[in-house]
Symmetry: C2
Subunit: 358 residues, 2 copies
């Protein structure tokens, strides 16, 4: 079985360490299951800007479309922060998501009992948390038109964006969320701000309607401000959450803090047909670049999500996930998770531990 | 000294208990300082809907405009949740904010050492937290035009809202925030999503420009997703935060969780000239209505903010704040804050304790 994985780099900060750990692991796990992963490199983000002047070269999008899945590291960095908006690394990421139509972004926040103490929340609040956030990724205010700058009637400069969702956009993400909830605890919480926003009223209406097709899933609705509160107050009350692009951006970052380390969190962005994008939730952390300090686990777990959700190879996914559990069981920790009584390792060394565990 | 306070009720759930505690305290504290508070009642929210069919009757807005300050309890309740958007209690609140032009919403999140254990976060993370969130309250996506529902080119139903800010709207809130920061730790963090949204790019640009007039205040910028994370991870890193309407709505609710009880949190909404609105951050909690269970401290602290920010009577504010500290020092707690070793009291009884402390 041959699988083409597009090992896209967003920028080269952690490439030597982060990506190579994930790629090595995938190869090894593939070997066990008789899968021959083929990797193609392509440029996106800062690395692409440096090489071509464009954050998502046409060639990269073509290579991605021709692949079975896209594995991505983190983008952005101080160096490109002063470029005009259209030329920033982030634009490459947004265009890649839009270009591949990966509308469903799955962001699990699972607290491993081993790491529960690393959270800023009390152990009894976070231990056992297992939330799946389903974020709409190619619509809403991120892509809504009209947008831009103009001068208003009073001659004042204004900036504006449009938060907009159509019925079919809400329907398709709702289906993904209900289907996921069905495989989990069968509880779906739809998050919006329908006490103020029309776009959210439509969201609630459509999600409620689709819910009738999933009578076995318990649907609830929550305002986004309350959700931000409940995620901190009683995170175990959540199972699956479905929400729009920007609310999902904010809530998934908040939820990531339950786990104590952003360095642990993978994500999957899928469409209904083409290749999905699999990437860690963490950023490029330019401050620790090149020091062999980064935590490769989010990247490895993203590769696992790729196998599970993108390539339908749950066995390979399990090998990777088990390797991660085993490394943690043995007490190995990168700097971000280190505490007394554990063994501190660098990125590369963690990679070796994982390979051995496999 | 005569002061006219419009003691607006949003709905009557906790009126008998909550408001009367605050009003009694204000009268008593006013007596000490030779201030004669005059209270006028007016209807807004659910109570107004029941009486007049409209969530903000013209008469209420007029009475508010003619007052020196508006003291408000919580709005909303299951009963009105199925009304059309224009007739919901929330609309009364939004129209009151807009009608009085209270563009600057101050939401402090202060963790009292006494109550630090009530938080879901670890004591060492929250003890000593003192954040002031300055939220723009009468612009952004809450009020942006165009908004509504339509059918798109493909014949699909869509819902949409506009997130929009003009230069002067950003300037005036920035000034309020810089001036507040100046009286605090002199650190201001401006929160937006300028890596994606044009409205946020303008926000960052204008705040940066205004910052030049406050060289003694250290200005930083943070994306909203990261801010949601940092508030949970390291809340003590924040001093003053300035942000737009919806981001402020979400972040202030998240920050409220640091304190362990929403029942403790006051807020002030001020304009540059007319009366301000002073209200607890908590909602109307219809589930405990009429049981004498509610925590009146947020309401009393809102009255204190009214004296400090709305009426320039810091002495009266201090009396109220000291009464709250004293009640907590003595170990009195309402049900939401109760823990072993403290004395559980109802809303009215807490009011008596506060009066005695005064
Ligand atoms: C980098 C940025 C454009 C992106 C987003 O806002 O979607 C990031 O925050 C994320 O959540 O993947
Ligand atoms: C009730 C609602 C309209 C309101 C808001 O979103 O502003 C509330 O959440 C608040 O924060 O005061």
């Amino acid at each position: 079985q041959k699988r083409f994985v597009n090992d896209t780099i967003r920028n080269d900060f952690h490439r030597r360490f982060l990506n190579s750990v994930a790629v090595d692991l995938l190869k090894a796990a593939g070997d066990i299951e008789g899968v021959d992963f083929q990797f193609t490199d392509a440029l996106v983000g800062g690395a692409a800007i440096d090489a071509t002047g464009c954050p998502l070269p046409d060639e990269t999008l073509e290579v991605c479309k021709a692949s079975d899945a896209v594995l991505l590291a983190a983008i952005g960095g101080y160096k490109w922060d002063t470029l005009p908006p259209e030329q920033r690394p982030e634009k490459g990421l947004l265009n890649l998501r839009a270009g591949l139509g990966t509308f469903a972004n799955l962001r699990p926040a699972v607290v491993l009992s081993h790491l529960a103490d690393a959270s800023s929340l009390k152990r009894e609040i976070v231990d056992g948390v297992d939330i799946m956030i389903v974020r709409e990724l190619v619509g809403g205010i991120y892509f809504g038109q009209p947008r831009g700058f103009k001068t208003n009637e009073k001659g004042q400069k204004v900036g504006y964006n449009t938060m907009i969702y159509s019925e079919p956009e809400i329907e398709r993400i709702a289906h993904v969320a209900f289907q996921l909830a069905r495989k989990r605890q069968k509880r779906l919480c739809s998050v919006e701000k329908s006490n103020v926003l029309e776009v959210s009223m439509l969201w609630r209406e459509v999600v409620t309607e689709i819910g009738k097709q999933y009578p076995d899933v318990e649907l609830s609705h929550m305002y986004v401000d309350n959700a931000a509160m409940q995620i901190i107050r009683n995170p175990k009350s959540f199972d699956t959450i479905v929400t729009g692009n920007i609310f999902g951006d904010i809530l998934s970052d908040a939820a990531s803090m339950l786990t104590g380390s952003l360095g642990m969190l993978p994500s999957a962005s899928t469409s209904n047909d083409g290749p999905g994008i699999f990437e860690p939730v963490h950023g490029s952390a330019p401050d620790i670049a090149g020091q062999d300090l980064a935590n490769p686990l989010a990247m490895v777990l993203s590769a696992a999500m790729m196998c599970r959700y993108g390539l339908s190879m749950p066995q390979v996914a399990e090998h990777l996930e088990n390797a991660v559990s085993s490394a943690l069981d043995q007490g190995y920790r990168t700097a971000d998770l280190y505490s007394d009584g554990t063994t501190k390792v660098g990125c590369r060394e963690m990679g070796d531990v994982l390979l051995k565990a496999l």
